[in-house]
């Protein structure tokens, strides 16, 4: 198993508040990691550190042994992020948003062509259908979609990126039970779809201890610190409760 992501001695503070304290964490290929913790425990911050959009105050983050800040664009593209706020380009259509996930594999002209809606609609269709949305949505502007539909467009965009590691920030919140399972299956690569390359490795933050059986490792955050890191097989229920207790 190759070590993909490696966080060492991470500290993050905003003002006097400490968001993350002394985080040591490494994720190897093939691992499906669930990230648990109360709201405000530092899950979003940890994911931002992991994808490089936030610089830690101290500590080092490495991807395959190279510091994140030194990664080339083509290496950076191996880390995909499904943001909690989705971060779709509102004015663009579904197809253009999905294609935006592939910008890292193409040049500026491709990006221009995508803006004009000229590029690879067929490919988008496969990703869109993988997330359970119908093809008729391809040309709809994302601002006209419902919350659940938008979430699935964001997932399609992440898949389009062909990454090795998927970081997802509460991808299941706001989904109905049926959709929750479907999306989770998809993100964890348990639903096999031809021609779509789903990242083998993932770090997904969530609030649902009942879904842990789909993962093989759990990390618990409390007040910015890792208080739990073990395989799902060895997990005792009280350990989960402890995460959500006030104190």
């Amino acid at each position: 198993m190759t070590k993909l992501l490696d966080l060492k001695g991470i500290y993050v503070h905003r003002g006097s508040e400490e968001c993350l304290k002394d985080i040591h964490l490494s994720i190897s290929s093939g691992e499906k990691v669930a990230l648990l913790g109360q709201s405000g425990a530092g899950k979003t911050t940890l994911l931002a550190i992991a994808n490089g959009t936030l610089q830690p105050n101290t500590g080092i983050v490495k991807w395959r042994g190279i510091k994140l800040s030194d990664l080339s664009a083509s290496q950076r593209r191996k880390i995909a992020t499904l943001w909690q706020d989705l971060r779709l380009v509102e004015e663009l259509t579904v197809a253009q948003n999905i294609n935006a996930g592939a910008l890292g594999q193409h040049n500026l002209f491709w990006a221009l062509g995508n803006l004009l809606g000229l590029i690879e609609r067929q490919a988008c269709l496969a990703y869109l259908e993988a997330t359970g949305l119908e093809g008729k949505f391809l040309d709809v502007s994302v601002q006209d979609l419902s919350g659940g539909q938008r979430q699935r467009v964001a997932i399609a965009r992440v898949l389009r990126q062909h990454a090795e590691l998927l970081l997802a920030d509460e991808p299941l919140s706001g989904l109905d039970p049926k959709l929750t399972t479907e999306v989770l299956q998809l993100l964890l690569g348990k639903k096999v779809i031809h021609s779509i390359n789903i990242p083998e490795t993932c770090l997904i933050s969530l609030h649902r201890p009942d879904l842990l059986q789909h993962f093989n490792r759990v990390i618990g955050l409390k007040k910015g610190q890792i208080v739990l890191d073990c395989s799902t097989n060895n997990l005792a229920p009280y350990e989960i409760h402890a995460l959500y207790e006030e104190r």
């Binding site: 950076r76 910008l103 221009l112």
Partner: protein
């Protein structure tokens, strides 16, 4: 903290008080000696000269003006877009470079922007000799800086999370930038560009009045020779062109297939840019306007420090600046206050139609020409210059008021009207009141524009920096020219920051340019 709702509409009307000193001094000097000339001017409007040679020359003039305006507009839109991107904070952030370069560029661009296109035209004429490019570049310099500022403000006020997400996913900075910015900026460029096109047309006309060719030259020459019938030939043509531009742009802004589809807007934008460049260059070529051969660089030797010192002492700068400011305040006052006052006093349908046609006419006549016409009926003083300058802006403010009010809902007006108040009060509280803070914010911006425009009416009665600039240029006194241009620039920069503050006061929730707010409605 909101202003009490009643205060703002009253404040919109208050500036009209500037009319009191202006009108009283104009009336005090009024005489009937010029009435017959004025009568000749007005009666010539219904019998413009239709001699083939006059028609031909006016037609040629109007074509040169349109082609110049188009070319100046399209180039400044392109350059402005690039500069706008370069001077936004986000651009430097995305490339992980220090942002001071962006803000430095933004500050530097304020300088060329602070100088009116006419001054640029007169200066460039000295450096490059006679070429239609001088007019085109003179329009380009301030306009591209203006577009740049509007765009960079707009870009920095956007939500950048999607941009960060795309960049994190491995997209190159440029790809990420265009994917997130183009869709939201294209509508802005499209609507703001339309407005700029109208300004460019007025700018090209003014440049013509000062001898840079086109219909403005035709107007100026015929007016100076008091050949009113020939003048009206050009004026009517200009009017038809202006009104069809305004109508077209209005239609275009609201054209349903384009309002939501940014892709079509992008195609229209690229198409419009390419066609405009090609058509206007070919057009000037067909008109036999020399575009290429005459464009050479001919600098004058730089003045020495001693000469600069000498020139500084020769110029009565304090007086010049003082009169320039006074001129701005008077002109701004009545051009801001009069449209709402007029609409309030005469709110009927007929009233609105008559007033808006008067506004159209006022937008049409370049200030130096109205100044000369006014001078025929009254004694020369600063009020004449203020009146001439203010009248064109009155036309602009009037149209803005009309369109702004027509965009808002009628419910309040109906409610107030049905509660038994008379037409005037219903108009004041129902129509003006909800719109007044945007109107005032825009008015602050317009005052800024007016300050720059004082350059064009200086000649009348020898008032202000504008007049002195003309005089110094005609004496080829470069040190003086440098001082005056600097004074103008500083004055405008101060004015701009003041008007920004005022605007923020009236539109607290946003830092956007009121121009943009207006067109986004």
């Amino acid at each position: 903290m909101r202003q009490p709702n009643l205060a703002a509409p009253i404040i919109t009307i208050l500036p009209a008080l500037a009319l009191i000193p202006v009108i009283s001094s104009v009336l005090a000097g009024a005489h009937n000696g010029g009435l017959n000339i004025l009568y000749r001017f007005l009666s010539a409007s219904i019998q413009p000269s239709l001699e083939p040679i006059v028609l031909q020359s006016a037609w040629r003039g109007i074509q040169i003006t349109i082609a110049t305006a188009l070319l100046g507009w399209v180039i400044s839109t392109l350059i402005g877009t690039i500069l706008g991107l370069l001077s936004s904070n986000i651009f430097w952030q995305v490339f992980e470079l220090s942002q001071w370069k962006g803000s430095l560029l933004r500050k530097l661009l304020a300088i060329p922007r602070s100088i009116h296109e006419l001054i640029w035209g007169l200066l460039l004429l000295q450096l490059f000799g006679i070429s239609q490019w001088v007019a085109i570049i003179a329009i380009c310099i301030p306009y591209s800086c203006l577009v740049a500022r509007v765009l960079s403000d707009q870009i920095d006020s956007l939500d950048h999370r999607a941009l960060i997400a795309l960049q994190q996913s491995g997209a190159s900075p440029f790809s990420a930038l265009i994917t997130t910015l183009v869709p939201s900026m294209i509508p802005v460029i499209n609507s703001y560009g339309g407005y700029q096109l109208e300004c460019a047309l007025r700018g090209a006309t003014i440049l013509g009045v000062f001898g840079l060719g086109g219909v403005g030259t035709e107007l100026q020459l015929t007016l100076q020779s008091l050949e009113f019938r020939e003048m009206w030939t050009s004026l009517w043509m200009l009017g038809v062109v202006m009104i069809s531009f305004e109508t077209f742009l209005n239609w275009y802004r609201q054209y349903p297939p384009l309002t939501n589809k940014y892709e079509k807007q992008l195609l229209v934008f690229i198409g419009a840019i390419l066609t405009t460049i090609i058509i206007s260059i070919l057009w000037l070529k067909i008109l036999d306007v020399n575009l290429v051969s005459t464009f050479k660089w001919h600098p004058s030797p730089l003045p020495t420090i001693v000469e600069m010192k000498e020139a500084f002492h020769e110029l009565p700068l304090i007086t010049l600046i003082g009169t320039t400011i006074l001129l701005t305040i008077l002109a701004a006052g009545f051009s801001i206050g009069l449209p709402p006052l007029g609409m309030m006093l005469w709110p009927t349908k007929t009233g609105a139609i008559i007033q808006s046609s008067i506004w159209s006419l006022l937008r049409l006549i370049p200030p130096p020409l109205s100044a000369l016409l006014l001078l025929l009926c009254t004694n020369p003083n600063i009020s004449v210059a203020a009146l001439a300058l203010g009248l064109q802006n009155l036309g602009v403010m009037g149209r803005l008021l009309k369109e702004g009010i027509s965009h808002q809902s009628n419910n309040l007006y109906i409610a107030i009207h049905s509660s038994g108040s008379n037409n005037r009060l219903a108009w004041l509280y129902g129509h003006l009141s909800p719109y007044s803070s945007s109107y005032l914010a825009y008015a602050a911006y317009r005052t800024d524009v007016l300050l720059r425009e004082t350059a064009v009416v200086g000649v009348v009665g020898g008032v202000g920096l504008g007049w002195q600039l003309q005089e110094s240029i005609s004496s080829f006194n470069w040190p003086q020219v440098i001082w005056i241009t600097t004074a103008y620039s500083i004055l405008t920069l101060i004015g701009e920051s003041l008007s920004r503050k005022v605007r923020q006061y009236w539109i607290k929730s946003t830092t956007k340019d009121p121009q943009i707010l207006f067109f986004q409605k």
